[in-house]
């Protein structure tokens, strides 16, 4: 089921809010998880259950402080017959939720995946200043971004993102290639999504050509930009010791691991006893070189994290935003994970049915390994 939804008062955000209100009142959903402004005007996320409190939700808020999939992993490890939560999330967040479902970290039964187009977001830190006092900021952003308008102030990862539209969803709300002051593009992909649309007045039609073209144009532009960024990275990485240099400022705070939506272990291997050594052992290691860098193991941590995450990384770049010493993790992970996923013809978060690449295999593949 798909079609356009009329927007009232040139306010697409309010139109989406009234959809939420309808679903909450009709008890189709018991709560909605959506972006929201805090009382201090910062970008955050809210779980709204009372239709009267929907003004708290800002579904089109264009700033990202966390990848909400991390929140979903926290609240939806197990399903409950008493809760039906609509996840109103951006494409990278939904893709991470899909990966988490496959990793058995999120139970799908109590959740509805409601996506929204997202051509890019600002960093949550400092977003208050970007927005200023503009109460219509979200709608203005959507108006600007409904065509393709590159914005160099977007988060690094967003500037390289080729998925402005979610890949897996029950229902998606689109505005790219539309005139968001007049209408939104609504698309239900599953029965759960269709059930939400019962009673909603849609002008049923095929996806407008203009929208398809806008999405394609955006993807193509982003792919080109990604290629350019990776080329820059490759140049910066050429030569020995460059990798050490790239991570030289690392404080070993492990923020990148903590905020990563798909880095799912309850206790990180790097926080385990494996790395607890007594002082004599530290001195012994130091003696080999005369002097070793402390904290130690930072490079090993990053390489291992890369190795663990490559197959499921959704390239949301939230790791880079959380880094106190601004190590360029977004481009790094983009490159590494894209290459690894290509190897297995896999795209993280593309489908719930595709098995995770590292838990499956084909007998006749990588035949060169072990023979040379």
């Amino acid at each position: 089921m798909k079609g356009t939804l009329k927007v009232d008062g040139k306010n697409p955000e309010a139109t989406i809010r009234s959809l939420f209100a309808r679903w909450l009142k009709e008890s189709k959903l018991s709560a909605v998880l959506a972006p929201a402004y805090s009382t201090a005007g910062t970008a955050t996320v809210a779980l709204v259950s009372d239709p009267e409190k929907l003004s708290e939700a800002a579904p089109l808020l264009p700033a990202m402080g966390v990848n909400s999939a991390s929140i979903v992993a926290e609240i939806a490890r197990e399903a409950s017959p008493n809760a039906k939560v609509g996840l109103f999330l951006r494409p990278c967040e939904l893709r991470a939720v899909v990966e988490l479902m496959k990793l058995k970290q999120v139970a799908p039964e109590s959740l509805l995946l409601i996506g929204v187009d997202c051509p890019g977001t600002y960093k949550a830190a400092g977003f208050r200043n970007v927005r200023g006092k503009d109460a219509d900021f979200d709608n203005r952003h959507v108006r600007e971004q409904s065509g393709y308008a590159e914005n160099v102030n977007f988060r690094t990862a967003c500037q390289m993102c080729e998925y402005p539209k979610p890949l897996v969803f029950d229902l998606n709300v689109g505005f790219v290639g539309m005139d968001p002051d007049k209408e939104l593009w609504i698309e239900a992909a599953t029965d759960k999504g269709k059930a939400l649309l019962e009673g909603v007045e849609l002008d049923a039609q095929d996806e407008p050509q203009k929208r398809k073209q806008a999405l394609e144009k955006l993807s193509a532009a982003r792919k080109a930009r990604t290629a350019a960024r990776i080329e820059e990275l490759d140049k910066a990485m050429m030569g020995p010791e460059k990798l050490v240099e790239y991570f030289a400022d690392c404080l070993n705070c492990h923020n990148c691991m903590k905020v990563c939506p798909v880095c799912y272990c309850r206790e990180c291997f790097f926080d385990s006893d494996t790395f607890q050594r007594d002082i004599a052992e530290h001195v012994r290691v130091s003696l080999r070189k005369g002097a070793t860098r402390m904290p130690s193991e930072t490079l090993l941590f990053h390489l291992t994290r890369m190795n663990h995450m490559m197959a499921s990384c959704v390239q949301c770049g939230i790791c880079e935003d959380s880094c106190p010493v601004t190590i360029g993790l977004a481009t790094l992970f983009k490159k590494v994970s894209q290459n690894a996923q290509k190897e297995f013809d896999y795209v993280s978060g593309r489908s719930l049915d595709e098995p995770l690449p590292l838990v499956t295999f084909r007998e006749s593949e990588f035949l060169k390994i072990g023979e040379g």
């Binding site: 990485m237 070189k289 130690s296 190897e343 590292l358 499956t360 990588f366 390994i369």
Partner: protein
């Protein structure tokens, strides 16, 4: 014998240290067979016995390189012959990803070798060790991943 000359430290030839992860069911038994058959191969490997090549976490490989190994060899049962049926197939995928990562990290993929050696292949095991040792010797000592020095 050419290897005898090569393994002589007095000759000033670089002697690599190679950590070898051998699966209990095939390659470890293959190494054992090479031993009891008195087949000569360079004494460059330090063997760590693992239950299956699927047990080898890529972290082990990185850690070995960081701790000063010049090379790493991982050897398991031939694909299709895994004692646990599919362990080595899964391992193979992991190694494919690791190869990409090594290249990216600027570590010559030649330092990390994979092979499939059955319990009956003592001669093949010796050959694999000879090849791997020669390959790593050509690359010289490993400096890349060693614990970061201060200066």
């Amino acid at each position: 014998m050419p290897e005898a000359a090569a393994t002589n430290p007095a000759a000033g030839v670089f002697e690599p240290k190679i950590v070898a992860f051998l699966c209990n069911w095939c390659s470890y038994a293959g190494a054992d067979l090479a031993g009891i058959s008195r087949i000569q191969y360079p004494p460059s490997i330090r063997v760590i016995r693992v239950p299956c090549s699927g047990r080898v976490d890529p972290f082990f490989i990185l850690k070995a390189l960081q701790s000063g190994a010049d090379g790493v060899l991982v050897s398991g049962c031939h694909p299709g012959d895994c004692h646990y049926l599919t362990g080595n197939y899964v391992a193979r995928r992991r190694f494919a990803v690791l190869n990409d990562l090594l290249e990216f990290a600027g570590i010559d993929p030649g330092r990390v070798s994979f092979s499939w050696v059955s319990a009956a292949e003592g001669e093949r095991f010796a050959e694999v060790v000879r090849d791997v040792t020669e390959k790593v010797r050509q690359l010289g000592p490993n400096r890349k991943l060693l614990k970061e020095e201060v200066a």
